[in-house]
């Protein structure tokens, strides 16, 4: 996943320090880690695979993924034209 596009934020005024996000993260090393003050911190944002399972298990909806999975529909005609142009 392009790490530069997604930014993960944890809203501290909502967070309940239950650390469900640390337990559940499906990335290999885990995106979240318990910080020194008990709040989870985003330690490895580049690991995030954007499965968003942390959203479903957070009791207070405190996790925000910004620029999450920008979906673009390409124009197939343009792409085909471009391909043929390169071939010729």
């Amino acid at each position: 996943m392009p790490a530069s596009t997604v930014t993960i934020r944890i809203l501290r005024e909502r967070c309940k320090k239950c650390l469900n996000c640390v337990r559940v993260c499906t990335a290999f090393d885990g995106v979240f880690e318990e910080g020194p003050d008990g709040y989870p911190v985003v330690a490895r944002p580049e690991e995030c695979v954007q499965c968003l399972i942390c959203h479903t298990v957070c009791p207070a909806n405190a996790i925000v993924h910004e620029n999450y999975r920008v979906t673009m529909l390409i124009n197939p005609d343009e792409a085909i034209i471009e391909r043929y142009r390169n071939m010729v």
Binding site: E13, K16, K17, L19, I53, P59, N61
Partner: protein, 329 residues
């Protein structure tokens, strides 16, 4: 005109508590009284007909009779902004539990006959007003906090947007969430033995705070009562087809207990439904079509189990027998 916005409050089948909250909002905040002119409100003014054009209409209560349905449609047609007030209008509320009973049998149990010609025509089921007409704003909860009513009315008068609630009751609850060592659920409400500082979910009691939309300040959990979900489900649960109150809660509890929320979901849901009746999760959302249409939801299970409940049916039949006997005397 005087430059004031016109305000109409239309009561449907409800208890009237939400109307009292509007009354309190207008009484406590003088700037609202300067901006709004009440044109129709059976509780307050003597006007008996809804005017042709209204700026803001507030609807309270659920749709139970044909008269309610017509009043709701009229309110939508004639108003520029329609606000639904309270759990009944938004999700069906407590009154939505009327769907547990056969309406004809209920009429028989109370009045001794199946229908009363001179009375209002009962619809076959109870409807939440939000399922029937498009609406602009929903202020949920039972009763809705005065602050929310003030915020909405003030924003509409100033031409602004009202912010959307996108968090849950947990974010305002002071209780501390601790991981669960052994997953078990205790039936009933927490007694005096419950720890006042720890989250109810961590202690094994059923608390719907983590799936209920934010806005109340968590007064129930502060006073040692679990959340019953009067605000209705959180916006993400309401929107997404793959989520439901039961499954969303089971996911959160499973993760607290160290289980996998995807693989062990069915196990936790089975445990929850073994201890609690399905209707316990839908106390305020029983009549809502939003939750009944969920493909992995349990609202329809709750409805079916309640309708077949032998205790309920037997009690109703006994009462019907008693009522008919009384009339014969």
């Amino acid at each position: 005109m005087t430059g004031k916005l016109t305000l109409a409050v239309i009561p449907l089948s409800g208890c009237g508590g939400c109307e009292v909250q509007v009354l309190r909002a207008l009484a406590l905040h003088e700037d609202l009284m300067e901006r709004y002119e009440i044109v129709y409100w059976p509780l307050v003014v003597e006007e008996t007909k809804l005017p042709e054009k209204v700026d803001v209409a507030i609807v309270e209560g659920l749709v139970r009779t044909r008269e309610n349905l017509e009043a709701l449609r009229e309110a939508r047609l004639r108003s520029r902004t329609l606000i639904l007030l309270g759990s009944c209008a938004a999700w069906g509320g407590i009154g939505g539990s009327a769907d547990s009973f056969n309406p004809r049998l209920s009429m028989k149990a109370i009045y001794g006959r199946e229908g009363i010609e001179e009375s209002a025509e009962m619809l076959p089921r109870a409807y939440a007003a939000a399922d029937l007409v498009p609406v602009d704003y929903i202020i949920s909860r039972c009763p809705p906090p005065v602050e929310h009513v003030v915020l909405a009315l003030r924003a509409i008068a100033e031409g602004k947007k009202v912010p959307v609630a996108d968090s849950t009751v947990c974010s305002q609850c002071p209780r501390e969430i601790k991981p669960v060592e052994k997953l078990e659920f205790k039936p009933g409400l927490p007694g005096p033995n419950a720890d006042p500082k720890t989250c109810f979910l961590s202690q094994g009691y059923l608390c719907l705070g983590s799936v209920t939309t934010v806005g109340c300040g968590a007064p129930c959990t502060r006073h040692g009562v679990t959340c019953f979900g009067c605000g209705g489900p959180h916006i993400e649960i309401a929107e997404r087809r793959d989520m439901d109150i039961v499954t969303a809660l089971a996911k959160k509890v499973a993760t607290l207990a160290g289980l996998d929320p995807a693989n062990d979901l069915d196990k936790v849901v089975d445990m929850l439904l073994k201890v609690y009746e399905p209707r316990r999760f839908y106390v305020f959302t029983f009549a809502s079509q939003v939750l009944r249409r969920k493909p992995h939801g349990y609202a329809v299970h709750a409805l079916a189990s309640t309708r077949r409940d032998p205790v309920f049916v037997k009690r109703l039949e006994e009462r019907a027998h008693f009522a008919s006997g009384e009339e014969g005397l």
